[in-house]
Assembly symmetry: C2
Homo-oligomer: 357 residues x 2
Amino acid sequence: MALKLAKKGRGYVSPNPLVGAVIVKDGRIIGRGYHQRYGGNHAEINALKNASEDVAGSTLYVTLEPCCHEGKTPPCIDSITKNKIARVVIGTIDSNPLVSCQSINYLQSCGIEVKTGVLETECRNLNEVFFHFMETKLPFVTVKYAQTLDGRIATATGQSQWISSATSLKFTHKLRAAHDAILVGAGTVIKDNPELTVRLVRGRNPLRVIVDSALNIPGQSKVLQNLSKNKTIIATIKKAGDPQFQRLANLGAEIITIDADKQGNVDLKKLLELLAKRNISSLLIEGGAQIITSILINNLANRLVTIIAPKILGKGIEAVGDLKINNLDLAKKLSIRKIVRSGEDIIIDSRLTQIGN
Amino acid sequence: MALKLAKKGRGYVSPNPLVGAVIVKDGRIIGRGYHQRYGGNHAEINALKNASEDVAGSTLYVTLEPCCHEGKTPPCIDSITKNKIARVVIGTIDSNPLVSCQSINYLQSCGIEVKTGVLETECRNLNEVFFHFMETKLPFVTVKYAQTLDGRIATATGQSQWISSATSLKFTHKLRAAHDAILVGAGTVIKDNPELTVRLVRGRNPLRVIVDSALNIPGQSKVLQNLSKNKTIIATIKKAGDPQFQRLANLGAEIITIDADKQGNVDLKKLLELLAKRNISSLLIEGGAQIITSILINNLANRLVTIIAPKILGKGIEAVGDLKINNLDLAKKLSIRKIVRSGEDIIIDSRLTQIGN
């Protein structure tokens, strides 16, 4: 029930995690609450406030370890002790270094019984972006592409518009709105000239990040328009002073120089680290094949959203290039979270498992 | 209701079509029936026999045009007129040339009101193999393969066992049992040495057909064993007298010579025509990539069963090679019939639309 309550905050609490809480006394539910909006009360406080009777001696069920630090609101552990809660059942510990187990220790030192790790996987999945960002200092990376059933994202000559249906395009815009930033390679900008904004659904525009090692994108690219409203960062290996650098800088885009990787392209891990420092906790990668392959080979992808159009194209361009995998046992493993129909298409939403292997 | 009844015969009536019938009088259902087993009563007869009262003046609903020819049982149209049925509602006409609209004409000439084309698509889909076989004199071709989410059926070095799960292997055996014949290319026999029999589920073994233009498969191949029990046909462009022909013929396999296509390989359409003449109405193609590509490029595939393993392999071997399609609009279109989970895998069962285009 606490998990269900937590989900009601989706879309309103970011960058805070979703949290739900339930108070039980003598086998009866006497209070429920969830974190409703960023800056508002935490779930525990709402459950305490909503309680239908005195909570002394009751059990508090909460999806995430209560906080112990003064933030936008006072620490929850104080309210728990003050209200004489007897037992706290916690879904998962909070990996935020300001909390991480300190609250559990404090509650126990106050004589409160604490149990942790109940439905832990579900509680971690609920806030997968939050946990990944906290624990790795890297954005949670979603790779999204549309392919034919036989795995092609474009014809051999590069035609890719439109593989998927209008319904799936709307889905893509929804996905964009749910991410802090969106990233594509220069090739995609040159070939498709996308705007990379949220237009087909309501939602804020994510930061646009273009990986353009050689600074090749044309000045009239759509991603370089309306820069005052929608920000664009261009990541390159070129340094200020380079004429191409100057050309694009003059248009108002922010250009950041990143070290080159072994292949002489922008080192994507370093770029991700830099984005994380700018508080980008979730990043959507929309192509092309070179960026997707590079992200996968470097184990930087967390989630894969594959839109499958009910078509067979035959020879063409594949989303995923050479991952240097010569043994089936070493193929990257996915855990399927959801399969949905989207117009004529099928959307497979999965997570990469064994990341870092 | 007639459609539902018809489905109860699945697995028992082949090569006859599935048929269901319902008799309605004054708004009440007074009889139901379906074709229960090959050689047994037709659906209409069972519905008449099961009728709870006099059927005179009633309406007969039947998924397929009633028969007008003496087969294993007397013609159904005689029973319909004899029993004074007033109206017949037919799902779809029977494309069997012995029937095709003749029954409808006869019933009308007897003063019976006839309506056709009610839920026609559903009634045709119910017996898609039967209709295809009747109308084209070619087997209904199902192409089945297991791929990673990124469309690879093997590593670059050819390793393909096992991309899919044990559950999907069982599904494959079930699919085999439901087909009259199973076909693979010589490459698959040489590389994987499959037995191509039904072992993991109950069911009869389909005829095995090996396309081996140059007659290269080794004599100790599993498909050449137990030939007295499980028949194998090898299709080649070589003629009797060729030493390779003799080598394999000596092992007891039937070898048939087919004209070469433009590429110098067995002409698959001619092979399919020959199989149809031998009463093979359904053919399962299990690979490899060359055969699958050739079947698709020649518009000979009707159904595509794609097992998707939750893995990303990157560069490897794709199921579908060059189809000479350079424009997305010309990609082969699929109509998705079913998406099911099979262990960790996803099975997408689809039909190729616009066949012949």
